[in-house]
């Protein structure tokens, strides 16, 4: 739905009359790979709990978990690509030169500006809660995870 709205929005942008008015982005996926895909078929409650703990996200309810599952299935398509003998690429910048900066002091001294964003401050220190507040353990969480 949002894709259609985007296309209409694009058409509203003034473009040279010679160009086509239709967006090149298809409104729906043009093709999909077959199922089942390689990789685990289900996300376990244990893994979900770990993810929530590590990434500090909250999947909230069954719909959220389902969306996660769909996202993982979508990404699993990558496993179908044959990468034998191909060097892994870890950055599109890999053929660029890493710029080296001279060791000069050019920044800093903006305490006031930085603290402007802080909700709480104490004498030019940022204020944070004590240590890490541990998430409730898996047993204490809502039962929806166990139910799914």
């Amino acid at each position: 739905m949002w894709a259609l709205r985007l296309c209409r929005g694009l058409r509203a942008v003034p473009v040279p009359p010679v160009r086509a008015l239709r967006s090149a982005v298809p409104p729906r996926p043009a093709w999909q790979h077959g199922e089942p895909r390689p990789g685990p078929q289900q996300v376990t409650a244990e893994v979900l709990g770990q993810l929530e703990h590590l990434a500090l996200v909250d999947f909230r309810d069954a719909e959220g978990v389902e969306r996660l599952q769909k996202a993982i299935r979508f990404a699993d398509q990558l496993r179908e690509v044959n990468t034998d003998g191909v060097e892994p690429m870890d950055s599109v910048l890999e053929d660029r030169c890493l710029y080296l900066r001279e060791d000069d002091v050019t920044e800093g001294n903006c305490t006031e500006e930085l603290l402007k964003n802080a909700r709480e401050k104490v004498e030019e220190y940022f204020v944070a809660p004590p240590g890490n507040i541990p998430l409730p353990k898996v047993e204490d969480q809502e039962t929806f995870l166990q139910g799914s």
């Binding site: 770990q50 590590l54 990434a55 500090l56 870890d90 950055s91 910048l93 890999e94 053929d95 660029r96 030169c97 890493l98 710029y99 080296l100 900066r101 001279e102 060791d103 000069d104 002091v105 050019t106 920044e107 800093g108 001294n109 903006c110 305490t111 930085l114 603290l115 964003n117 104490v122 004498e123 030019e124 220190y125 940022f126 204020v127 944070a128 809660p129 004590p130 240590g131 890490n132 541990p134």
Partner: protein, 509 residues
């Protein structure tokens, strides 16, 4: 000492302690690893913080060349292979002093790998017997430091100062080749000296420029390694040895009582001299490492691979750095031993005190006394005075010139060595007098008048009839008593050798 001999009182199967160290050395540079904020200890909170250090959106890391050079120098000094291509990664975890939620480090391919560090230990606490040991260096990696948290438990809050966030660190990972606190301490001390010699880090533990975490486990010989604990909050080299030894002992006792060791992080409490659990690694901490998308690989060059038309400022040449490495401590010690004929353990003491080796060499240059004799004065007398008054060599009230002057008087036999010690104590007051002036003032000069000496000797001989008889009947040892009496008469101002000659001559008449 051998691991099995470390705890001989165990009548059960011997335990083999295994100690590995993770050392973070703060790079000595003007600005931070990825930003242009200043690096300085003790500045007003959050005054040395740029937008990137505060992790404000839209900021990007820019690598500091000096930090790369520092890591290469350190890698070369530790006999590592320098990776000409190394990569940066993100290590994710949440903590208030890590504003980005991740630390930029080098997990996959660090800048240097597979090195070694040689250090020396005294056997049986005797300085005269030293043994050389080696610990393997697994890798050296560049990474960011985090900010500082000040815990305010009364108000249930933590105050965050980001001045330290983003400062460049070299993490030196050592293989678990050590077996006790003494070895760990010696290895760290040598690393500290190397870093200070290179200038890549000032490595002052008290200022947090050198942080050591120890991984400790025990097992029986022939069995697989035991569960290890990580010990943190070690603030000095002395405490490192204590913490490691305590933890080894604790683990042995726990296991011998049928308990188990948890894979946990423990903090060293210096007041109590023990380790306490800090936080247990709930399940496993998963850092979700991923390549740092904003930084291309770091490419280093050597003389062969140097591209022709590249901007000098953008090139880090390993061979160029190698040529300019200063003499490492082990080389300096060997040179001192060879040049001055001093003992190896003396060379260790000289390098252990900042500036002492230089002081020694300056004294040798300005005096006729042989270096082998000078070293005794430096290590025994000067150093003990410095320690008594908690002074560094640079703060010494006695300059190398003054000491050389004093030693010259001794060499010329104008004073005895006891008198020389007295003069040194006077010089220490720093009242601006020369050694000669003090000698004259306190009448410490050796009696040079032969006749006067002979008179005193004769007087002693006349008084001590019993002793004279004993000597004449063959008991030569009693002569020492007579010499002692002469010394007392002259208030230490007689040359013992000369006195002996005079007495012997008189007694044989």
């Amino acid at each position: 000492m051998k691991a099995e001999e470390a705890f001989p009182e165990q009548s059960l199967a011997p335990w083999v302690p295994v100690v590995g160290l993770e050392i973070h050395a703060q790079i000595s540079s003007n600005s931070k690893l990825f930003s242009g904020s200043q690096v300085q200890f003790a500045a007003p909170p959050n005054s040395l913080v740029s937008f990137f250090d505060a992790s404000l959106p839209g900021t990007l890391p820019v690598l500091n060349r000096r930090c790369v050079e520092a890591a290469v120098m350190t890698g070369l000094a530790l006999n590592c292979s320098i990776n000409k291509k190394s990569l940066f990664d993100r290590k994710h975890y949440f903590y208030a002093d890590l504003p980005a939620g991740y630390q930029i480090t080098q997990q996959r391919v660090p800048i240097a790998v597979n090195g070694s560090l040689s250090y020396s230990l005294c056997i049986d606490n005797k300085m005269s017997q030293m043994v050389t040991k080696t610990v393997r260096i697994k890798q050296i990696q560049l990474e960011q430091d985090s900010g500082k948290s000040l815990h305010d438990d009364t108000r249930s809050q933590t105050l965050i100062d980001l001045n330290r966030a983003g400062v460049g660190l070299m993490e030196v990972v050592m293989e678990p080749d050590m077996c006790c606190g003494e070895e760990a301490a010696a290895a760290v001390r040598e690393l500290q000296l190397i870093l200070q010699t290179l200038g890549s880090s000032q490595a002052v533990m008290a200022e947090g420029q050198l942080r050591v975490d120890a991984n400790v486990s025990v097992h029986h010989p022939g069995e697989p390694y035991g569960v290890r604990t990580e010990v943190k909050n070690i603030n000095s080299i002395r405490f490192l040895a204590k913490a490691v030894d305590y933890e080894i002992q604790r683990q042995i006792e726990e296991l011998e009582n049928g308990g188990t060791i948890l894979n946990e992080t423990r903090a060293f409490d210096s007041k109590l001299g023990c380790t306490v659990p800090m936080r247990d690694k709930e399940g496993k901490q998963d850092y979700r490492f991923m390549p740092e998308p904003n930084l291309p690989p770091l490419i280093l060059y050597d003389a062969k691979s140097l591209p022709a038309n590249m901007n000098h400022q953008q090139v880090v040449n390993i061979d160029w750095i190698h040529k300019r490495l200063p003499d490492l401590p082990s080389v300096k010690r060997a040179k001192l031993v060879e040049q001055y004929g001093i003992l190896p353990e003396h060379s260790f003491t000289l390098l252990n005190e900042d500036g002492l080796a230089e002081f020694f060499e300056n004294v040798v240059k300005q005096t006729q006394m042989k270096p082998k004799k000078v070293i005794g004065w430096i290590i025994k007398d000067l150093l003990s005075h410095l320690k008594q008054h908690s002074l560094t060599v640079k703060e010494s009230p006695v300059s190398s010139f003054l000491l050389a002057d004093l030693l010259n008087l001794l060499v010329k036999k104008d004073i005895s060595s006891t008198a020389a010690k007295q003069v040194l104590a006077e010089l220490w007051k720093g009242e601006g007098k020369t050694p000669l002036e003090i000698v004259k003032e306190k009448k410490l000069g050796l009696i040079q008048d032969q006749k006067e000496l002979e008179q005193i000797c004769q007087a002693v001989i006349d008084r001590q009839e019993n002793e004279v008889m004993a000597i004449k009947s063959g008991n030569q040892k009693v002569l020492n008593k007579l010499i002692g009496l002469v010394q007392r008469e002259t208030q230490g101002r007689s040359n013992a050798v000369l006195v002996r000659q005079i007495l012997e001559k008189k007694l044989s008449e």
